[in-house]
Symmetry: C2
Subunit: 347 residues, 2 copies
């Protein structure tokens, strides 16, 4: 550490170029009236010394800091992480730098971070979290965009993924593949994501003239264990079940495990769809899971773009939804037509 | 957005307090000679207007920005995320703010971020990544601490978790529980983490006078599928195997699944240990997995503390290792003594 270099100062640049500090400052900041050869001499000296203009000083001069705050309440990060990285990608590749603030769900810590971000004169703030329940708007004077968890104020700019649309993609795929008795296993009824997806699925089943209703829906936990238990109960109450559309990949994996261990083939006997397209789960399942991708990376990127537009003065307000994508894998493949009449042998 | 408030300026504070801008500035920054009642009047006006001192200006005055860069190359984030959050926790709770920079493993992007951080006059940089292989030091004039992935320069400050020590904890626990034929299934031999853990396990087995050697070690992928296949091969070559110490929780889960599906009881017949203590895997496994926690959150926190000490001028250099922790769950519980002689019935 003793040999650590120092950052070159504007004084050193001025001395090397043989000009005053004021002249050197004008040259590196592109301001003022200077002879072209003087400016060139200063810039050459700056380059040689590795001088970098001071972004703090430039922020004061321009009234903008070219920094943005990224405020999350989700330390665990499986859902907010792709949102954050999408936002960071959209901002950091340009001249914007991103302040990372993790409130860990604590309101006092969130206020501390908002004060800090304002003191640092951020140009705006992206707010994200683990769940999709609307959250109270944050109290700040700078532009804010909400990602994944929208603001309760409908005038605020929010970017979320279309949960209901994603669930419709999955169930419609099952219907189109010829499945006729479709159960749904999902997370807690107290979670908005679970309710939105369940309603969309029931509506699609009704619209297709297929059985729907509470006896085909099992709310519970977002766990494999809930998936295993609910699959067992559904098999008991609906022995003719030929598909299970799940609210998460963890649930779908539990469902798949139970079906396999109780002697039912996936997808030949029962098709299974997950939700989240979480690589760890979809590829480890046997067979690999068809799943709905919420495109959270794109949600973060879009939120950052909305923030940049707002900072640039464009008058955008209100919520925006991005579509989900269905990724089809082996767990929901259509059974081959039974041209040889072999199916009867299996029973 | 039309009703958005503006941040109060020092001019407004001065007008409200009936003093000059210079006097107001001295009061809010705690500088200069002022009568106590003048300072009090200015601070009262500042509080009433919600004025926040400008951190950019303070950074220029003090020569410090009270910002730190957090540079990661791991977009996926399962390993670097806890390190980053630990660092953010140690820094953000105080007056330090954290710039998030994700180079996504791209060297050019990393250089862009280092230039940006220097231009922003960060007080220091924490560098982290996905793997533990030493990486070339970054080229910068500010203090740097490496977390999880150390620098190749032994004088640089690095904080890592003790991988070999963690593996020793797991295998010693199995030995102490009376296991005598212990296999090891782990990730690619090209990964330093896999090699360090495998060597530590083989040394501990030799030291205990137990069988060790290449036929008991299966390098491969960090996947459940590799776990299932390696468990099958080990069962074929070593039918008397009574424990498998795994290089990751995903591998351990695959091992456990294969053992259960081939009719062997975990832990009664074969004990299983994982590595990483990843909640998603250890609790979803049947039975829940004993695992080694690398304490990556603490690694991040410690790295941030080292950086703060370096910024404060303390002369610290070289690598630091934090111990891992063994978390014992059902998968490695000691078999009960067979006082009733029932074990013979199972064979």
């Amino acid at each position: 550490m003793a040999e650590r270099r120092q950052q070159a100062t504007i004084t050193e640049v001025a001395a090397k170029a043989g000009v005053s500090v004021g002249t050197a400052s004008k040259a590196v900041n592109g301001r003022g009236q200077l002879r072209p050869e003087t400016r060139a001499r200063v810039l050459a000296a700056a380059a040689e010394l590795g001088f970098e203009p001071n972004a703090l000083a430039r922020g004061l001069l321009s009234g903008r800091s070219y920094t943005v705050g990224l405020l999350t309440n989700d330390s665990f990060g499986r859902f907010s992480m792709p949102v954050m990285l999408g936002a960071e990608e959209a901002l950091g590749a340009g001249q914007m730098s991103v302040f990372l603030c993790d409130s860990r769900g604590d309101a006092e810590r969130e206020r501390h971070y908002i004060r800090t971000l304002q003191a640092r004169r951020v140009d705006g703030i992206v707010v994200t979290g683990r769940r999709i329940e609307p959250r109270p708007p944050i109290d700040t004077v700078v532009p804010v965009v909400y990602a994944m968890a929208p603001s309760t104020d409908p005038r605020d700019v929010s970017v979320t993924s279309d949960e209901a649309g994603g669930a419709r993609l999955a169930v419609q795929h099952l219907i189109d593949s010829g499945r006729r008795r479709i159960g749904h296993v999902t997370g807690p009824a107290g979670h908005l994501a679970a309710r939105l997806r369940a309603s969309a699925i029931q509506e699609a089943l009704s619209a297709a003239g297929l059985p729907s209703g509470p006896d085909l829906v099992h709310f519970g936990q977002w766990t494999e264990e809930h998936g295993r238990r609910a699959a067992e109960r559904l098999a008991g109450t609906h022995p003719d079940l030929d598909a299970i559309c799940c609210g998460s990949d963890q649930i779908a994996r539990g469902v798949t495990d139970h079906l396999r261990e109780s002697g039912r083939q996936v997808p030949a006997d029962v098709a299974v769809c997950g939700f989240d397209n979480w690589d760890v789960m979809v590829f480890a399942s046997r067979p690999p899971l068809t799943s709905v991708d919420r495109n959270l990376h794109a949600v973060g990127r879009r939120a950052a773009q909305c923030l940049l537009e707002t900072i640039a003065g464009q008058p955008i307000t209100g919520p925006r939804q991005l579509p989900c994508t269905l990724v089809v894998r082996e767990s929901s493949l259509q059974p081959l037509p039974d041209v040889l009449g072999l199916a009867a042998d299996r029973s």
